[in-house]
Amino acid sequence: MPAQQTPALKAPLTVEFPFTRSLGPVQSAFLTGLRHRTLLGVRTISGQVLFPPTEYDPATADELRDLVEVAPTGTVTTWAWNPAPRPFQPLDTPFAWVLVKLDGADTAVLHALDAPGPEQLRSGMRVRVRWAQERTGAITDIACFEPYESDNDHQVGPHSGEFEDPVTLFTAPARLDYTYTPGRAPTDYLAALADHRIVGERCPSCRKVYVPPRGACPTCGIATAEQVEVGPRGTVTTFCIVNIKAKNLDIEVPYVYAHIALDGADLALHGRIAGIPYDQVRMGLRVEPVWSGDARYPDHYRPTGEPDADYDAFKELI
């Protein structure tokens, strides 16, 4: 049976996690400072003031700890007008990205500038910090910058970096949305599964049957195409008894997680064994899939009642 021309499958894939960011002393002082509307930079050994303060000198790799306070006003060093803000960006109306050198600092910070349009923008323009109403100890405690005429006469002063309620870590949620497409061979495999058929693909060179097919014979490095229905019966080659509930899985423990070599396949796939007490499952047990509802995969495999397969008959498939 040749490969079919099934339309490409696709589905959303969301990669999302609230990452924990622990900070270390310099970043902790800086972000705690923001919560207190205090802008801390760090002085390098050569006397430059870096804002935002880095833990290590980009030029020399020296460890930096000498905090100083800079001004909430500064000068734009470059800008870019962003007419269509993207998710999670600081402002949801059109704004400018800017690099701003705060008064007292020798390096620039990246942030947003709230401005009515690109016409008013130029490098060299004066701005000031607009603080967020609610400040948690994050770079977003600076809501954005806003245009503001003022003189640059700030003298930096040292700062201990000590606050009563230091922020030592913050949560950084991140979400990326992808559209997942499994490719040609898995698409065909999934289409057959919908009919409760398990269809692998044979390598034209080594003749091994791969299930599930992944598009290439991994030992020959060539495309598989010839489709071969395998199973439905198979042999448990090895297994473990799961006694700990896996997250997002609604299966009562203990249960058996097994490698199953379906008849006609040259490697095992994975499945759960049921319909037999968990402590009676053994290598060589003959099983068949049990489908339930419109689930994509067999719900589990159950014993067929056939005699066990001989170890020598499946040991190459373990």
């Binding site: 622990s22 833990e55 290590y56 991994p218 297994f239 473990c240």
Partner: protein, 394 residues
């Protein structure tokens, strides 16, 4: 174009080694602070400064673990890499070993004189199981946790060799006791007994809770250099006598998960380079990547220290103990400390510490030759090195 082909490689020496304290959550440092701690200790060991480093080679496991894509870009400043070459390696669990080998090749090829290599993982930024099991559409959900992937292979090993049930616990007990002698190790329980291990919950039968690795934050760094650099080093170097990587596909017809061919081939290659014909006799200490205790007997066979089916007997008879004649994981191993991306480099570094005579309380007396071993993916990526106290070729 008529330059001559290299007649031989530049010998590579390990002159600096640094590790962080490994714990489940290093909430006192940033990611940069974590890697910096290991790097600074390696520099101190070598009595070198940032300016002495020609290039940086960094490795870690998937970027999703920290939620930073290609974090070496952000870490360039902390690692003194600005204005220098910086390479980022990712070969799954073997990455710490692979990273060290990529760095060593920069010296061997005479591209650079002194290289900082470093591997890390800050698992507390997320959750390793989240990173390892992103919900890929259409795929059958993973039916078991991390141990569920390995447990069936352990059962296959037991079936194949007739190894008795208690071997796994013996390994865990040994490694965790060794960890008590290692100031950097993560899991340290002075009250641990074999009985406690054998009565810990059976999570993925045949793997018990106490036979699994922890989840750690940590970093490991090494300074590698050429003969000239070694001559200036304040402490005895470890010399690289052989290094190799081997890969095989993730899943394939005929794959032997118990003793993968890539592991055998990789070991054969490093032994050949190092002139080792009888690893059991010629190697004094082994740091192997054992994330689940049963992998010690499995790797003993795969690496040629025991005949097929005989690895568990070495473990059972105490050969792999700290005072045995083939000590395995004197540091406490991955079972005691597992910052995933760094775990392989820690194996390489601990092997080097042994032949430098700088392993402290877990030093194997007179260790002259040691093997560092790392593996990853679906038991498919292998990286190994053999280090010795003597310069290769005399």
């Amino acid at each position: 174009m008529s330059r001559q082909r290299a007649s031989h490689k530049e010998p590579v020496a390990v002159v600096g080694i640094g590790q962080t304290a490994h714990v489940s959550a290093r909430h006192d440092v940033s990611i940069a602070g974590l890697v910096r701690e290991a790097a600074q200790r390696a520099l101190a060991d070598a009595e070198l400064t940032w300016a002495d480093i020609d290039a940086v080679v960094i490795g870690k496991a998937p970027d999703f673990f920290e939620g930073v894509m290609m974090p070496e870009l952000y870490l360039a400043d902390a690692l003194g890499a600005v204005g220098k070459p910086m390479l980022r390696v990712h070969t799954a669990g073997s990455v710490g070993g692979s990273t060290a080998l990529v760095a060593a090749n920069l010296i061997a090829a005479r591209v650079h004189g002194t290289v900082l290599t470093l591997a890390f993982e800050k698992q507390s930024e997320s959750n390793a199981m989240w990173g390892l099991s992103l919900p890929i559409p259409f795929q059958q959900p993973l039916l078991a946790g991390a141990g569920g992937f390995f447990a069936p292979h352990v059962r296959a090993y037991m079936r194949r060799t007739g190894a008795p049930d208690h071997i796994g616990s013996l390994v865990a007990y040994k490694d965790r006791r060794n960890a008590l002698k290692n100031p950097y190790a993560h899991l340290k329980d002075p009250t641990l007994t074999l009985d406690k291990i054998q009565s810990s919950p059976m999570l993925w039968d045949p793997i018990r809770y106490a036979e699994t690795c922890p989840s750690s934050d940590g970093a490991c760094a090494m300074i590698l250099t050429d003969r000239a650099g070694a001559a200036r080093a304040p402490h005895p170097p470890a010399w690289v006598h052989g290094g190799a990587m081997r890969s095989e596909p993730t899943l394939f017809a005929g794959k032997d998960f118990v003793s993968p061919q890539a592991g055998k081939d990789c070991a054969a290659d490093v032994y050949h380079q190092a002139g080792i014909t009888d690893p059991r006799r010629q190697i004094d200490a082994v740091e192997m990547y054992v994330p689940f205790s049963w992998y010690e007997p499995m790797w003993l066979e795969n690496l040629g220290f025991a005949a097929e089916g005989e690895g568990w007997k070495l473990t059972e008879s105490g050969v792999t103990e700290l005072d045995g004649d083939l000590p395995v994981n004197p540091s406490g191993g991955v079972l005691s400390t597992n910052p995933i991306g760094a775990s392989g480099m820690i194996r390489f570094a601990e092997a080097a510490l042994q032949v430098r005579g700088r392993a402290g309380a877990h030093q194997i007396p007179d260790a002259r030759t040691a093997l560092g071993h790392a593996y990853g993916g679906g038991s498919q990526f292998f990286a190994m090195w053999v280090v010795g106290a003597e310069r290769p070729g005399g």
